[in-house]
């Protein structure tokens, strides 16, 4: 009650605490089995989790609107191919390369938004269709062997560390999380998104342009997927086909572990971050336990079940 209004508004939800708790448990398990978990190791995992973290943030925005975006993986892959091709390994091309990449990303988001709002196609079908179109277009354009590369100078964004303790990609990820947190929970437009995400009909009746909010969320999600694709490109340094395909499902998993609901109206960036990190530390755990990589899916599925079971358990009480 004594909390100032500005804090009440950003008070972490129970779901955020649950996700952070799961993450903590995972780190403890990792520590017990490997005997050592250093800060550098944690940060290095976070560095590699950043592309997923950004893509999952976009997915969380779509889930906030009560929809699903099955094209985020393809959009990140598109960013990878376009960025490498337009960079062509030359640092001088940076501005154009980034501009072209972001342009394509925004285009995908706009297409998704229009399919969903104007043509009234259910979001998961519309975005599934766009993802197929993107994958096909990439194959046609590249003939199956995409060219170009990311110059070493640019790859600092994922390979470099700020003061040697904080990877730049983690800085970017944190900044994006904070910006979106402030946008959704502290701006008028964000508030309108929350209201239309939780109940589009009621929002519309109260004068909110709920449809426009949906289009906007798809554009924003594609932008985040493009950012994720750019970081991913920086990590690999080159273009490859289908590099981000698994990110579609992973982004949904990360957002849901982080407390997002399919029914909409929830946006918890800290939870999404925790969800993304959980998926990455799971992989580390597999190495430590020397389990086959395929076991990752089993563990991932189990974590989703645990996260959702915990939230339902709380509700029933």
């Amino acid at each position: 009650m004594a909390l100032p209004a500005i804090l009440t508004n950003a008070k972490p939800a129970a779901a955020t605490w649950r996700a952070l708790g799961l993450l903590a448990i995972l780190l403890i398990v990792l520590f017990v089995f490997s005997g050592r978990v250093s800060m550098v190791q944690v940060m290095d995992n976070a560095r590699q989790a950043a592309p997923l973290g950004l893509i999952a943030l976009g997915q969380a925005l779509i889930l906030l609107m009560g929809r699903l975006d099955l094209s985020v993986g393809a959009t990140a892959g598109l960013a990878n191919v376009v960025l490498a091709a337009s960079f062509a390994g030359n640092m001088d091309n940076m501005a154009t390369a980034l501009a072209i990449t972001v342009f394509f990303g925004l285009l995908v988001g706009l297409a998704n938004g229009i399919l969903v709002v104007v043509l009234r196609i259910p979001a998961f079908l519309a975005t599934l269709a766009t993802s197929l179109v993107i994958a096909g277009a990439i194959l046609v354009y590249t003939g199956g062997s995409p060219g170009g590369s990311i110059p070493a100078g640019f790859r600092v964004i994922t390979e470099g560390w700020l003061f040697g303790i904080l990877p730049w990609s983690v800085v970017i990820w944190t900044a994006c999380s904070l910006i979106l947190l402030v946008f959704v929970h502290y701006s008028l437009k964000g508030r309108k998104m929350l209201l239309s995400g939780a109940n589009a009909r009621a929002a519309q009746r109260n004068g909110i342009a709920a449809d426009r909010m949906v289009i906007f969320s798809f554009v924003l999600a594609s932008f985040m997927a493009t950012l994720g694709g750019i970081l991913l490109s920086s990590i690999t340094g080159m273009a490859s086909i289908g590099i981000a395909d698994t990110y579609t499902v992973d982004s949904i998993a990360a957002a849901v572990i982080g407390g997002a609901l399919f029914s909409g109206g929830v946006f918890l960036p800290a939870g999404v971050a925790a969800g993304s990190l959980i998926l990455f530390f799971l992989q580390s755990l597999l190495y430590v336990l020397s389990l086959p990589p395929a076991a990752r899916f089993v563990l991932q599925g189990s974590i989703i079940v645990i996260a959702l079971a915990l939230s339902n358990f709380k509700k029933d009480r």
């Binding site: 209004a5 209201l195 109940n199 009746r205 004068g207």
Partner: protein, 517 residues
């Protein structure tokens, strides 16, 4: 309690005695008794919430009764499911909305009883020949291959009835078969009922329309608040008896005392307002006036409320607010013009149930005060806390999801949202549906308070008590048109019901009614 005289012309088919049913502490049927003979038509009459649907659901096997006895063909009848009821010869035709849009007419009619081959697949040819036979015997002219979604409301109703008839029941129950039909289409349903009756089928039908009850019913059963207030055979009841049995009750002291206001200037008017659901509507509201709009279910209340709040705008006509022409093209336009509206379905149209009270309540307040696109959070808190005190909203705090509140408190949140700036016109559509008496009274006093300040109010309601207690003037809505106007000095439930039932002609009787109220 009135009792039914023993049938003198046909043997009793079903006899209900002392039937009672309650949901928790809520008694919905109390000691109801009546009987129906073979080949007779019984009209089941009552206001919304009187217990008609419960009674019907008990007879058709959807609900079981707590006490009492039903005897069908001289055997105890207590169906365990609709299928069990059907085996005993009792079939129900629901309202036309139950027709499935993507099935054909024939598939809808025989739904669940389709002729099937050894593999369990529907034998389409057999299905259609069965349908043709049935349609011929009923004398209706419908293409069995037409999809449900391409049917008119009347056709859908006929499909529902045909579906029930195809089971060849002894007793056919019709749930408001004419509610959504024009009077012409309603007539074809009545003719069908007469034909079935001639074939020996007994019919129980629910209706709000006095005309067709008087025309078609051999017997009537009137329910009010779950109790039987009238059971009579043809010739033993008049329209006035029915209306009196439906509404006879006293006003409680939950309404504010309102001074008359007749000389205030007109604030809002609609002339020749039409759209696909409203044939033509026109009315005017004065400054500070509460204009009640009465009507039976489905007479255009929802289209009117939707048009006034900009959700389903008028296609033509003139709208004026404070002398200025206005277009209500969208909810945003209506809000900008100063028209506030409270929807009838607050869970779907009013609130984001999963979000906190604060977020649900503050929308308009923060929209006005936002600086540079950012939320005025301190102001929001003050506004919300102030509204909470003013409305005495009972909740743990303002961060509680609004879906956890009681109906009355939820409705108060919807009202509070509009208090950020006083509207010029307040459109209320069933504002106290599912609201407890205490909250009702608080809402009534708030409406009164706003009208004293000059806010004009349009109160669309099916609650007669509420209309009479709060309105300065009442208009009756019937089939999407205004069919009568009643001044406050002449308010009576009988008079409103008469207009609302589409009986505007009895001018000479009005004086008498006003006198006896």
């Amino acid at each position: 309690m009135a009792s039914l005289k023993p049938a003198n012309h046909s043997p009793t088919l079903i006899a209900v005695s002392g039937l009672s049913k309650s949901f928790g502490r809520n008694i919905v049927l109390q000691d109801v008794s009546f009987s129906l003979g073979r080949g007779e038509v019984l009209a089941l009459v009552g206001e919304n919430g009187a217990g008609k649907s419960t009674l019907m659901n008990i007879l058709s096997g959807n609900l079981s009764h707590d006490a009492g006895d039903i005897r069908l063909k001289d055997a105890t009848y207590k169906p365990s499911s609709p299928a069990d009821a059907a085996r005993n010869g009792v079939a129900i035709a629901h309202q036309e909305t139950a027709v499935m849009p993507d099935l054909t007419v024939a598939e809808n009619v025989f739904f669940g009883r389709e002729p099937r081959n050894a593999l369990g697949m529907i034998r389409q040819r057999q299905l259609h020949s069965d349908f043709t036979q049935l349609a011929a015997s009923l004398g209706f002219d419908l293409d069995g291959r037409k999809l449900g979604r391409h049917l008119s409301a009347a056709e859908r109703q006929l499909v529902e009835i045909a579906g029930a008839i195809s089971a060849k029941p002894d007793i056919l129950i019709l749930d408001e078969p004419t509610a959504s039909l024009s009077s012409e289409a309603a007539h074809s349903v009545i003719r069908l009922m007469e034909q079935l009756k001639a074939q020996g089928t007994s019919i129980i039908f629910i209706s709000h329309r006095m005309g067709e009850i008087m025309e078609a019913a051999d017997r009537v059963v009137v329910l009010k608040d779950g109790a039987l207030t009238l059971a009579a055979a043809r010739g033993e009841f008049s329209e006035d008896d029915l209306i009196h049995a439906m509404v006879g009750r006293k006003l409680e002291n939950i309404f504010p005392a309102r001074p008359a206001r007749e000389n205030a200037p007109v604030r809002f008017s609609v002339r020749g307002g039409t759209n696909e659901n409203l044939p033509e509507i026109g009315f005017a509201v004065r400054r500070g006036e509460v204009l009640g709009i009465a009507g039976l279910e489905g007479q255009g209340q929802k289209p009117l409320a939707d048009a006034l709040c900009g959700m389903a705008p008028f296609r033509s006509g003139t709208i004026e607010l404070d002398g200025e022409a206005l277009k209500l093209k969208s909810p945003a336009a209506a809000i900008a013009a100063g028209i506030a509206s409270i929807p009838d379905d607050r869970k779907h149209d009013g609130l984001a149930l999963s979000l906190p009270i604060r977020l649900n309540m503050s929308l308009f307040a923060i929209t006005e005060r936002a600086k540079g696109g950012f939320l005025p959070l301190a102001y929001e808190r003050d506004f919300v806390e102030g509204a909470r005190e003013r409305f005495s909203i009972r909740s743990t705090d303002m961060e509680q999801p609004v879906g956890e509140l009681s109906g009355g408190n939820q409705q108060k949140v919807v009202f509070a949202r509009w208090l950020a700036h006083e509207p010029k016109l307040l459109v209320l559509y069933e504002p106290t549906k599912g609201v407890d008496v205490q909250s009702k009274s608080e809402i009534y006093h708030l409406v009164d308070e706003l009208s004293q300040k000059g806010v004009s109010v349009i109160l669309i309601s099916s609650d007669l008590m509420e209309l009479i207690g709060l309105s300065d003037r009442i208009l009756a809505l019937y089939e999407g048109r205004i069919t009568g106007e009643i001044a406050r000095s002449e308010f009576s439930e009988e008079k409103i019901m008469r207009y609302a039932a589409g009986l505007p002609g009895k001018r000479q009787a009005e004086g008498m009614e006003a006198a006896h109220v």
